[in-house]
């Protein structure tokens, strides 16, 4: 894998994440989040996980963004009404973030290099190579599939319970 491309992608990811957190407008935040998802999807693709990348792209970049945008529009984004003072105060709170991240990034990298840490990975002699995704997903991980079914059921009930307009019991 090409290191410069990866570095570029990772850099973009961090920037997108910081943007999603820092941008004042919620709508733009959601879009930054979608961008983060897209960059992540590309990274996944490069790492050799095309199916996961596809899922990330369609569900996270697509569906979740839609959810956010509809939630934002339903709650009414009122940045204009924010007072000048509040905006400044908010900026002060979040401006520390990039500096903070920079310090952490540099510190951890230095510590890593200084200690020569390496995840060697365990070379499992019995590591089977014949495992296909299909076999793994449908046979080996069927418990997870059951989990997905249940969690989707839960999501459906969440929509029934939480999104109903009239209910102030």
């Amino acid at each position: 894998m090409n290191l410069p491309i990866l570095l570029l992608l990772l850099g973009l990811m961090v920037v997108a994440a910081v943007a999603a957190v820092m941008i004042r407008s919620l709508l733009k935040s959601a879009i930054a989040l979608a961008a983060l998802s897209i960059v992540l999807a590309i990274t996944l693709f490069f790492l050799g996980a095309p199916l996961a990348a596809l899922f990330e792209l369609s569900v996270c970049a697509g569906l979740i963004t839609v959810i956010f945008i509809s939630a934002i529009s339903l709650t009414g984004n009122k940045p204009k009404e924010e007072e000048e003072e509040k905006i400044r105060e908010r900026r002060a709170r979040f401006l520390k973030l990039p500096i903070f991240l920079l310090i952490i990034g540099v510190f951890v990298s230095l510590a890593w290099i200084a200690n020569g840490i390496n995840i060697s990975g365990i070379s499992d002699p019995a590591a089977p190579t014949f495992q296909t995704f299909k076999n793994l997903f449908w046979n080996m991980r069927q418990v997870d599939i059951l989990g997905q079914v249940i969690v989707i059921l839960a999501g459906a009930f969440a929509v029934v319970v939480l999104f109903k307009e009239r209910d102030q019991a």
């Binding site: 894998m1 961090v14 996944l44 996980a49 934002i72 991980r141 997870d144 969440a158 939480l162």
Partner: protein
Amino acid sequence: MSSLNFDPLQLSIIVSALLVLVTGIYCLIYSRNIIRMIIAIEVMMKAVTLLLAFSGWLMGRIDLVQSFIITMIVIEVVVAVVAAGIALSVYRHNDTLDIDQLDELKG
């Protein structure tokens, strides 16, 4: 040169995942908007996705990790839906998304 005894690729991926994770937690602490907190959670999940993919890639077991990521994304969506639903209901009650309004329960 006795090649660097660290892998820059490992380093860069882990550090960037860490940074994204920290960004999310930072936002959870400092944000006052409910929806932005949900966005922060999503941001954290992205970091975790990256870590998962990386772990599979490192061990040469990307197929296993693909199935993990798919399951994870499904769960992520459901959590996002629930969170958005709660945010909406809160908004209907309080007419604001300010998290500081949510401090009735304390002590």
